[in-house]
């Protein structure tokens, strides 16, 4: 609990209209997309690194926890104020400070919404590729903190591949810069990379320098349907082996197709067992040629349908199939656990088979789709929490899914992070030495454990 004096000091830092303690605000800053809920004691909306620094200094002095928060779209509870404390919202820091068209870099504040940034750079013919499905509402700060990825990761990589430098307020209140604007730079430890994906536990990001690319000339979208998941997986490796790196290789398994079909009646062929949505981008002539090559390469792999979009509208139509997945899942069961494991891409069919066995053993529906190009699979365990015993079964099944991914040389999370949701499973993936190393970094930067305590590390 915060005492009146501390609240007054917080108010002095951010101004009365930027602090809230009413129960309505506490409720509304106590949830995220995990659907867990913990009420904070206060919510603050600072608008500069200086204010953030003062808040953290006060937190160290008065010993209260601070939880950084962007849009609260996280899937693992990273921004949730478990145990109470102060939620620090970055949405007032939402300026695009500059876009440097000579050096192809941009400097932004953390509260900028990802899509808003993309649209601004695209107006100048430039490109910021990271595209989490939450891009219309998640913030760039949240993206960096979670190292968000998206379907374009196959070709372009994830958020950290575009972060060149940061301004960060350390848990003690010190304001530092990491990295810079140069492509090369090897002085000191690479704190930029350390902070990308640190889930708001090592510092609060107050500025980001992003690398930009030229906007690709054009793109081509293809929807391909296979009679087996193996066929779809072999298509992925065949395309890449033949030196074509698509922008996107999204896949949906049979269970997913069944859901979508039942709800939206898209008229998929009877024999459809897996779908691959493929997109290539670049020079117009080149992508035309690539689309033809791709068709030829995957033809023998059990292809039962191949559709190419002629224009943007048709491309949108093909993407619709993928976008309808989420809304149709609820028909299976009302509650879902969305886990995002990664395996080497050639192992996708193996892991799907292992998951099918897990699903049979526990008798709960599991629906898989995701980014085949980088082996990142969204494993959706569909349950009804109101049925006694289902929740426990789900937790057991999740553990086995993680184990399957790890056995095949993968990881338990490709983009959603650990937060609160995956924390109990951490020892499956990291050994005691790794955890100790990470804990000493946290302890060195945050001696009083005031920044986002209780997250990520067990």
């Amino acid at each position: 609990m915060l005492d009146a004096r501390t609240l007054q000091q917080l108010t002095d830092i951010v101004g009365a209209e930027n602090i809230a303690t009413g129960v309505q605000d506490l409720i509304c800053y106590g949830y995220d997309a995990t659907q867990m809920e913990f009420l904070p004691d206060a919510v603050v909306h600072p608008d500069s690194a200086e204010q953030v620094s003062k808040i953290l200094q006060l937190a160290n002095k008065e010993n209260f926890p601070v939880f950084p928060r962007g849009a609260g779209s996280g899937f693992t509870g990273g921004a949730l104020p478990k145990g109470g404390g102060v939620v620090l919202v970055t949405t007032r820091m939402n300026r695009i400070l500059r876009i440097d068209t000579d050096n192809l870099v941009a400097e932004v504040e953390p509260g900028v919404v990802t899509e808003a940034f993309q649209m601004e750079v695209e107006k100048l013919g430039l490109f910021y590729p990271p595209d989490p499905a939450s891009l219309k509402f998640s913030t760039l700060g949240g993206n960096v903190a979670e190292c968000a990825g998206g379907p374009r990761a196959v070709k372009y990589g994830v958020t950290k591949d575009f972060v060149m430098g940061l301004e960060v307020v350390l848990p003690t209140g010190a304001i530092i810069r990491t990295g810079g604007e140069t492509v090369k730079g090897v002085v000191g430890y690479d704190l930029t990379k350390l902070l990308c994906g640190s889930e708001g536990t090592l510092g609060i990001i107050t500025k980001i320098i992003f690398k930009l690319l030229p906007y690709p000339d054009s793109k081509k979208t293809m929807l391909t349907v296979f009679d087996s998941i193996d066929g779809a997986a072999r298509a992925v490796s065949t395309i890449i082996k033949n030196k074509i790196i698509p922008t996107t290789l999204e896949f949906m398994d049979h269970a997913t197709l069944t859901c979508v079909e039942r709800r939206f009646n898209l008229g998929m062929p009877e024999s459809a067992r897996a779908v691959l949505l493929i997109e290539v981008d670049g020079d117009r002539d080149l992508i035309e040629k690539q689309a033809g090559q791709i068709h030829k390469l995957i033809e023998p792999l059990g292809l039962v349908q191949f559709r190419v979009a002629k224009d943007a509208a048709e491309s949108e139509e093909l993407w619709r199939v993928r976008r309808l997945v989420s809304p149709s899942l609820r028909d299976v069961n009302p509650d879902k656990f969305n886990e995002d494991i990664v395996v080497p891409r050639s192992k996708v069919p193996d892991v799907i088979r292992r998951i099918e066995l897990i699903q049979k053993r526990y008798d709960i529906p599991i629906v898989n789709f995701g980014h085949a190009g980088d082996g990142n699979i969204h494993v959706n365990i569909m349950i009804d929490k109101s049925v006694p015993g289902q929740l426990e079964k789900a937790h057991e099944a999740i553990k086995e899914v993680f184990q399957a991914a790890l056995d095949l040389g993968g990881t338990m999370s490709g983009e959603h992070g650990v937060g609160l949701a995956k924390q109990p499973y951490i020892p499956l993936e990291l050994n005691a030495d790794q955890i100790t190393a990470m804990k000493s970094i946290k302890a060195a930067l945050d001696p009083n454990n005031i920044l986002n305590p209780g997250k990520m590390l067990p």
């Binding site: 409720i27 800053y29 995990t34 509402f137 009302p334």
Partner: protein, 426 residues
């Protein structure tokens, strides 16, 4: 005690469960856009409604304030991956709040607004502020009164002039057309009846041109939506019943509106919101809903030939989608009519389907924020360089005119039917 007041919310409790708190609704919510605080988002309002049902927060000022920050524009519902009907949930929350009106806090905030019979004093007040012409001829059940219910909306606001003679007083109840042609019941709506009578005239001219029989039921009242936005579901039910009776008196092929808001009420919200609370009315409301159609949609369906309507003068126009059209899937039809009309060049503005900021009574409680939303709209309109902005809702027309005038701009604001009727009415 608390139980009773959360009854309306319990009716939508199942719907609330569909919300997974993903935050997708942040992207399109105009209320969040202007307030920039989570309680203003759809997700926030759903969370608060859930806590109300659980009983761990009460219908106090804080809750009232959060629930008031909604334009009922429905864009969250359109974009929500789980189709959570936040607009319905907010209406239920406001009803719950309205039921507590006798208790001090809520009464203080909206007391005089919703139940118009208690607005006696206000009538005099408004008359004093807007001049004697305004409101004198407007009956107390009119949505206009609900739309301008507060004294503090004077100031710089541009209030439209009240018509000398209401539209319905100018015409007989039945205007016979050619045999074999459709019979249409015209649901006029307050704005058209009292303020923008030219919309009514244009609509009438177009359907007479097509040979239709047009019936203007005399017993029709305000659709009641401004009351719905204030949570006064009792008044809305009364008005719905009166409107139902007036419409049912006539045999018609269509019930037609030239006001997106009225269309939204008849077509969707009556059966959904009033029907849910009054099962005995439900089938009748649904029957009218099934016949309800927007003027532009009906004109297209009946085969209005745009070349008969074009005047030959070149005009650059842009189209604004009223929320109650967007949520009903009406977007193509008016645009097609405009595109096909000789002399008209249609240019799209940025965010044509974004709310203008009127939002029922939202613009009264949150005038500054409403202006803020409206300013974005005005900019988008001005950026197109169009001579006129065209839309299908008199409420939007009022709001867009206000915004453009405040921005010092001279772009005209017209209803689709007005443009289409230009030649016919000569």
């Amino acid at each position: 005690m608390t139980k009773k007041h959360t009854d309306p919310l319990e009716r939508v409790a199942q719907e609330m469960k569909k919300c997974v708190k993903c935050g997708a609704c942040r992207a399109n919510c105009p209320a969040f856009g202007t307030f920039q605080r989570e309680p203003a988002t759809a997700r926030g309002k759903v969370a608060l409604a859930q806590h109300l049902v659980k009983g761990d927060i009460t219908l106090d000022d804080g809750t009232y304030s959060a629930m008031s920050k909604c334009l009922l524009c429905g864009s969250c519902v359109d974009k929500c991956p789980n189709q959570v009907p936040t607009d319905e949930i907010v209406i239920a929350a406001r009803e719950a709040l309205a039921q507590r009106r006798g208790l001090t806090t809520f009464h203080k905030a909206v007391g005089q607004v919703i139940k118009n019979r208690k607005l006696m004093n206000f009538g005099a007040l408004a008359a004093a502020i807007f001049g004697p012409v305004f409101f004198r001829k407007v009956p107390s059940t009119s949505g206009l009164r609900l739309r301008f219910p507060m004294p503090f909306i004077g100031g710089s606001r541009h209030i439209p002039q009240i018509a000398k003679k209401p539209f319905m007083k100018r015409h007989p109840e039945i205007i016979k057309g050619e045999p074999g042609k459709p019979t249409i019941v015209f649901f006029v709506g307050c704005m058209t009846n009292f303020v923008y009578t030219e919309i009514g005239e244009a609509t009438l001219a177009l359907f007479r041109h097509l040979g239709c029989t047009v019936i203007i039921p005399q017993g029709q009242q305000c659709c009641g939506l401004p009351g719905m936005s204030g949570g006064d579901l009792e008044t809305v039910r009364e008005l719905a019943e009166q409107n139902l009776a007036a419409i049912e008196k006539h045999q018609a092929d269509y019930v037609m509106t030239a006001c997106a808001t009225c269309g939204g009420a008849l077509h969707k919200l009556y059966p959904l919101v009033i029907g849910k609370r009054n099962p005995e009315l439900k089938a009748r409301l649904q029957a009218v809903a099934d016949k309800t159609v927007d003027a532009a949609v009906l004109l297209q369906k009946l085969g209005l030939h745009p070349e008969e309507t074009g005047t030959g003068q070149r005009l650059r126009v842009t189209y604004h989608d009223p929320c109650h059209h967007r949520t009903a899937g009406i977007a193509k039809q008016p645009r097609t009519l405009l595109k096909e009309t000789p002399g008209l060049d249609l240019v799209e503005m940025e965010g044509a389907d974004r709310c203008c900021g009127l939002g029922g009574t939202f613009n009264v409680y949150h005038y500054e924020s409403s202006l803020d939303i409206n300013a974005g709209k005005s900019k988008a309109i001005i950026d197109t360089g169009a001579d006129a902005v065209v839309t299908g809702c008199p409420g939007c027309i009022m709001q867009l005119s206000d915004g453009l005038k405040q921005a010092g701009d001279k772009t005209r604001v017209l209803h689709t039917v007005e443009l289409l009727a230009r030649k016919i009415r000569r």
